[in-house]
């Protein structure tokens, strides 16, 4: 399309300069704060951060919930995506629209709805009580379970959408071919579908995991300060303690966790493809 590389680069320059000036530079400046100490560059801030039991607990909780949400959304996502790609085009569009619908509702309103649903007098507890499964209402709100449910609802659509587009690119005859050759459904999924849709899984998984790590409203409202996550802890460090150093430490940890997950998922996907 372009006569030479220079022309293409020149065209990309304004956007790249914009991104560099308003995004990259400030982010690097902010994050570099965490490596600064009176004695020069050091990892002291990280040492201090991880030596606090509270911070360790919050770190593991964030990682655990992120992985749980990603794993569960992958399982549900594959099932839903399979069902949707096999629908006729008209209903497929409607289903995708329905799945996207929650993304169009303000996260605050959506999360407040969970407070009503999960509360002591909410429909979940009423149903459990009505079925005779519980004597006293369960305390679901302001717990890890509540955050898990909120995050799963928030990010499941992203997983389903990524998997739908991956499954649509799956050659039509690979599954029948595998069945003819005697593979059972588990083998078909593990040896045929998973390797061929790994791109979708990696994209979906990265979106879900990164989203779970950085979502603020859901853990703030459904977990509150009883169940701190890294993002709510970061907010507390900045707005209450005015401690930008440990806030930058948390921010960098979150960035590293996101990148690491992306790499890890890619590695897992390609490893399966090779066998």
């Amino acid at each position: 399309m372009f006569h030479n590389r220079t022309e293409a680069l020149l065209l990309a320059l304004p956007a790249a300069a914009f991104a560099a000036i308003v995004f990259l530079v400030p982010v690097v400046v902010l994050l570099s704060e965490s490596f600064r100490s009176p004695a020069g560059w050091s990892l002291a801030a990280y040492w201090t951060f991880f030596s606090e039991p509270l911070n360790q607990a919050v770190f593991w909780r964030t990682l655990k919930l992120g992985l749980q949400v990603t794993a569960v959304s992958a399982v549900i996502g594959y099932a839903a995506a399979f069902a949707i790609v096999s629908l006729p085009p008209g209903s497929k569009g409607r289903m995708v629209g329905l799945i996207m619908l929650p993304l169009m509702i303000s996260p605050v309103a959506r999360t407040y709805a969970w407070i009503v649903i999960l509360g002591r007098t909410g429909i979940v507890n009423q149903a459990l009580h009505g079925l005779g499964l519980t004597d006293a209402p369960l305390r679901i709100l302001f717990s890890e379970t509540a955050i898990f449910i909120g995050l799963l609802q928030l990010f499941l659509p992203l997983m389903i959408i990524s998997l739908i587009s991956a499954l649509e690119n799956l050659p039509r005859d690979v599954v029948p071919a595998a069945r003819v050759l005697g593979a059972n459904w588990l083998q078909i999924f593990w040896k045929v579908i998973l390797p061929l849709t790994r791109e979708g899984l990696v994209i979906g998984g990265t979106l879900v995991f990164t989203g779970s790590l950085t979502a603020y409203i859901t853990p703030a409202i459904l977990g509150g300060s009883k169940v701190l996550m890294l993002e709510t802890l970061l907010y507390q460090r900045v707005t209450v303690a005015n401690d930008f150093v440990s806030a930058s430490v948390i921010a960098l940890i979150l960035v590293v966790m996101s990148f690491a997950t992306n790499l890890l998922l890619k590695r897992i996907a390609t490893a399966r493809a090779r066998t």
Binding site: A57, T121, L141, G224, K226, Q236
Partner: protein
């Protein structure tokens, strides 16, 4: 096309110059109730002074950070904050002595609002009581310690230490436990022991109304300024008068050190403290008056923190204690309650 563009930019330049000549006063305030403030305070003041108010909003930390960053050439002329933050600003050399002789309404203020930090650096413009809102059909609250009773704790939302209500509530709990140390160690430990029972440690009082409505909670320590919405729920709710008394907090006005608009800032503060403005803000339930001449209807008085008796009875945490203990409280809280 080019001509038009040139003409347009010339016009904009002129307009900009005209604006620069106008007198402006930059104030930094809490973000809440800005529509009411604009109608009752900002707009009428702009009319009388022939000047323009530039309003910045945000929380105290942002405000202090900004004042610190612009120490050499201040942007904000006047700010409002809590007494503890005002003391911090004063210690950091960010604020100036207030020449109260220039405040014609100063003598009308309740004693506790005149010079809350005893350093002549701030003047209180509103204060509030903090006590417990509770379901009168479910429990009786005679003491702050009742909140931690087994049958009650499972229905309590306690303010997080990071909120303005957190430390005062803990302060009263500490007193109810018969302890008086400012580190609040015993109170925080007592709350920590009940942390699995307590429904949540709330950050925004607006959330409590919903929790109360769906019977998730039956009691919560709150500031009087968030009481009004509870009265509209149609539930049997009461405002506790514990035997240890009520606590609360106060917000104050400060003048930035090095501001070139000192006179105008004082004029604005005086206007804000006037009986007329304080009465209007009280009628709209925005701020409880610090001006003792303000008379409000019984209906309004019911919903705000009002009257000389109330003002005298509030057990406030001294700003110096709050400021010096803040980090220790947070640390203690995070280790006992946060995990």
């Amino acid at each position: 096309m080019l001509k038009q563009a040139v003409a347009l930019s010339a016009l904009m330049l002129l307009a900009g110059a005209a604006q620069a000549q106008e007198k402006t006063l930059t104030i930094s305030v809490y973000a809440f109730a800005q529509d009411e403030y604009k109608e009752l305070l900002y707009a009428p003041f702009e009319k009388t002074c022939g000047c323009k108010l530039v309003i910045e909003t945000g929380n105290s930390i942002e405000r202090l950070a900004k004042m610190e960053a612009n120490k050499a050439s201040p942007v904000i002329d006047m700010a409002v904050m809590s007494t503890a933050d005002a003391l911090q600003a004063s210690r950091a050399g960010l604020v100036d002595k207030i020449d109260t002789a220039k405040l014609t309404n100063f003598d009308k203020l309740y004693d506790l609002a005149r010079d809350p930090n005893a350093d002549s650096m701030s003047v209180g413009y509103t204060f509030y009581a903090t006590s417990i809102v509770y379901r009168t059909d479910k429990m009786k609250i005679d003491s702050w310690a009742d909140l931690l009773k087994p049958e009650i704790a499972a229905h309590v939302a306690f303010p997080n230490i990071t909120t303005n209500q957190g430390p005062p509530a803990l302060y009263m709990l500490q007193q109810a436990m018969g302890k008086d140390s400012p580190d609040l160690k015993e109170a925080i430990a007592a709350v920590g022991a009940k942390k699995d029972d307590i429904v949540t440690f709330y950050v925004k009082s607006s959330q409590l109304v919903q929790l109360m409505q769906q019977e998730e909670i039956w009691a919560a320590p709150i500031g009087r300024f968030s009481w009004a919405p509870f009265t509209k729920l149609g539930l049997p709710l009461g405002w506790a008068t514990p035997k240890e008394g009520q606590t609360g907090g106060m917000n104050v006005m400060v003048v930035t050190k090095g501001s070139k608009k000192r006179e105008l800032a004082l004029q604005f503060m005086d206007y804000w403290l006037s009986t007329e403005v304080q009465a209007k803000l009280a009628e709209k339930l925005v701020d409880s008056p610090a001006n003792k001449e303000v008379k409000v209807s019984p209906d309004v008085a019911e919903n705000i923190t009002y009257g000389a008796e109330t003002a005298k009875s509030l057990k406030l945490i001294p700003a110096a204690v709050a400021l010096d203990q803040r980090d220790a409280w947070l640390k203690q809280w995070n280790s006992k309650v946060g995990q």
